[in-house]
Amino acid sequence: MDKFTTLKSTCIPLPLQDVDTDQIIPARFLKATTRDGFGDNLFRDWRYNEDGSPNEDFILNKGLSGEILVAGRNFGCGSSREHAAWAIYDFGIKVVVSSFFADIFKNNALNNGLLPVQVSDSFLKSLFEAIEKDASTEVIVSLEDETISIEGTDLKESFDINAYKKYCMIQGYDDIDFLISKREEIEEFETKQK
């Protein structure tokens, strides 16, 4: 897993609520047996017309760039497919900001070095407004300080992240490494259970 400490970047706004993982990566693209290449089909059915040409109205086709995706409430609901987190990360996004994340998505994101930043509804609103006014608005996410701020304004908010997950993200250390280190304790537990 890649390490994450701080990020300063422009944003890609997606002001929709309840964006489900079927939209993030439709089921028909789940046939791969590796983790790579899912970014090409990120938001496939919103991003491309039926004939495969880009849908000019969709935000990813408007020439914006940025490593921060800003989305409406309840992002990542629906299917537990981890491919959703892979697709976003593979596309080049490092942080997703929303006022609420679905549980499994949040977990999946953290397991893949993608940082979910949960902010208040009012901060999210200000963020959307700032990006709408000026697409070159930069946002700074500091994992160390657990803060997100909008460059050039005094808008700043803290976000919560579990101490263990924070440590893993900063170190680029994953859960499996940790669990494998606990195998002896797991065996003891099994003996006790029987």
Partner: protein
């Protein structure tokens, strides 16, 4: 001792290790895998050079991506074939039992676990699929996980989890004629929304729940995830024990007696506290149907679609469905009917459908597909003559798999077509790009197939 919920009892019993200010290491009793969310996990093990820690506690099947016709022939779609073959090779290499295509136990992962007696009370169960919550109907903790977590379980038989909050949903009273457990859960989700259960694990209780069969309870727990909950569970009782007894992998003899005594104690203590509680009355529930693009957008079948209120997500949703805010759904012409998925593809569902359509004919313009949840359901349906009843009524009984629930195989609903589906998700494109899905119970779906439009099934029952 402090009174505890059923959830807390089972959870606490499975905590191996606690990280300060972090998640807990939770031991997993049973792990189900399938072809779509496991290849990258096995690839991870290979990369780390380790094996499966407890191969006997993992069970595999092929369901998401398999054809539902001519299963004896090689899979035509090259990518699907590669994925299913990868599962076969991985199970072989790592010593995991596989109920793959052609095996008498093959089927949708959440249908086969319970019917084989693998799913039991008091356990922790996970699978790389969100509807793992289905198994909770047997009084255990069952939840969906991502592929990284599948790898965790394969490597250590544990997952790292933050303990969720607890929620009680109590439904009391008698269900009205024509109202099924699917209607209960669609009703509950329409009331508390698709994020109403987030961060929680739900225990369903109350007389309306107790009176349900195991199939009915599984439908409820299956869709608990659609309100954002981590999972749902129902305390085990005699209905549960009767269902499990005698099944292939159920405990036998003295072991059965010992387990039964243990299982009988699996209850929430009378004074235990839940973080959140909701109460509903069974009498208030009508046959339900969804009009929008998430499972919380449901109404009673005779009701009106809510009027537009300026919310752009709802507007987008109704545009996708080509429906008008404020209008009625009753009488609306439909094109497809899909009866299947881990929500409603069990023998009880097929029996209900067969009973309703017996001696009748489906509407000519409707394409009706019935996909049993497993080989065993298929076999039983044939033994009971259900296949003949369905065929005579113009329905097609397919071979088991997830099928049009997620449209990964060729069973898709074409763009712009309306499909009444007994599955659990009506998201945009879920049943195929541009497909318009309306979720309902097997009875409401079958009624629509007969008349060709959205129908109040109670009119056909009387």
């Amino acid at each position: 001792m402090q009174p505890k919920t059923l959830f807390d009892k089972i959870w606490d019993n499975h905590v191996v290790h606690e990280i300060e200010n972090g998640p807990q290491v939770v031991y997993i009793d049973r792990h189900f895998i399938h072809e779509v969310t496991s290849p990258q996990a096995f690839a991870g093990l290979k990369k780390r050079g380790i094996g499966v820690f407890r191969p006997k506690q993992t069970i595999a099947t092929a369901d998401h991506n398999v054809p539902t016709q001519d299963q004896h022939l090689p899979i035509k779609d090259a990518l699907s074939k590669h994925q299913v073959d990868t599962l076969i090779n991985n199970c072989d290499e790592f010593g995991v039992e596989l109920y793959g295509l052609g095996h008498p136990y093959q089927g949708i992962v959440h249908v086969i676990g319970p019917e084989l007696g693998i799913t039991q009370p008091g356990m922790t169960i996970v699978c790389g699929d969100s509807h793992t919550s289905t198994h909770g109907a047997f009084g255990n903790i069952a939840f969906g996980i991502g592929t990284s977590e599948v790898e965790q379980v394969l490597a250590t038989q544990c997952v790292l989890q933050k303990k969720p909050k607890t929620m009680k949903i109590q439904v009391d009273g008698e269900l009205k004629n024509g109202v099924l457990s699917k209607d209960i859960i669609l009703y509950v989700i329409s009331k508390i929304s698709t994020s109403g259960g987030t961060g929680h694990f739900v225990e369903f209780c109350g007389t309306a729940i107790e009176n349900l069969s195991m199939e009915g309870r599984m439908t409820i727990c299956n869709m608990s995830i659609e309100m954002g909950a981590r999972g749902g569970m129902i305390a085990p009782d005699n209905t549960t024990f009767d269902y499990i007894k005698g099944r292939e992998f159920a405990p036998k003899g003295a072991e059965w007696e010992a387990k039964l005594a243990e299982w009988k104690a699996l209850k929430t203590d009378p004074d235990a506290n839940f973080d959140t509680e909701h109460y509903f009355k069974a009498e208030d529930i009508e046959p339900m149907i969804t009009y929008g693009t998430n499972p919380g957008m449901g109404i009673g079948v005779t009701g009106n679609i809510p009027a537009l209120n300026g919310d752009i997500s709802i507007k987008k949703s109704l545009e996708y469905m080509a429906l008008e805010g404020g209008s009625q759904l009753l009488g609306k012409k439909i094109d497809y009917v899909f009866i299947g998925s881990c929500t409603n593809s069990r023998i009880e569902d097929l029996r209900l459908v067969a009973e309703l359509v017996k001696g009748k004919k489906k509407a000519d313009h409707v394409n009706a597909m019935i996909v049993p949840g497993s080989k065993q359901v298929e076999k039983q349906a044939i033994e009971e003559g259900i296949d003949k009843v369905l065929l005579a009524a113009g329905f097609e009984l397919r071979q088991p798999g997830c099928s049009a629930c997620l449209g990964m195989n060729e069973d898709k609903v074409p763009k712009g077509k309306y499909c009444i589906s007994t599955s659990n998700r009506n998201f945009e494109g879920r049943q195929g790009p541009g497909a318009r899905t309306m979720l309902a119970s097997p009875l409401t779906a079958a009624a629509a197939a007969l008349t060709g439009h959205i129908t109040d099934v109670r009119e056909l029952l009387n």
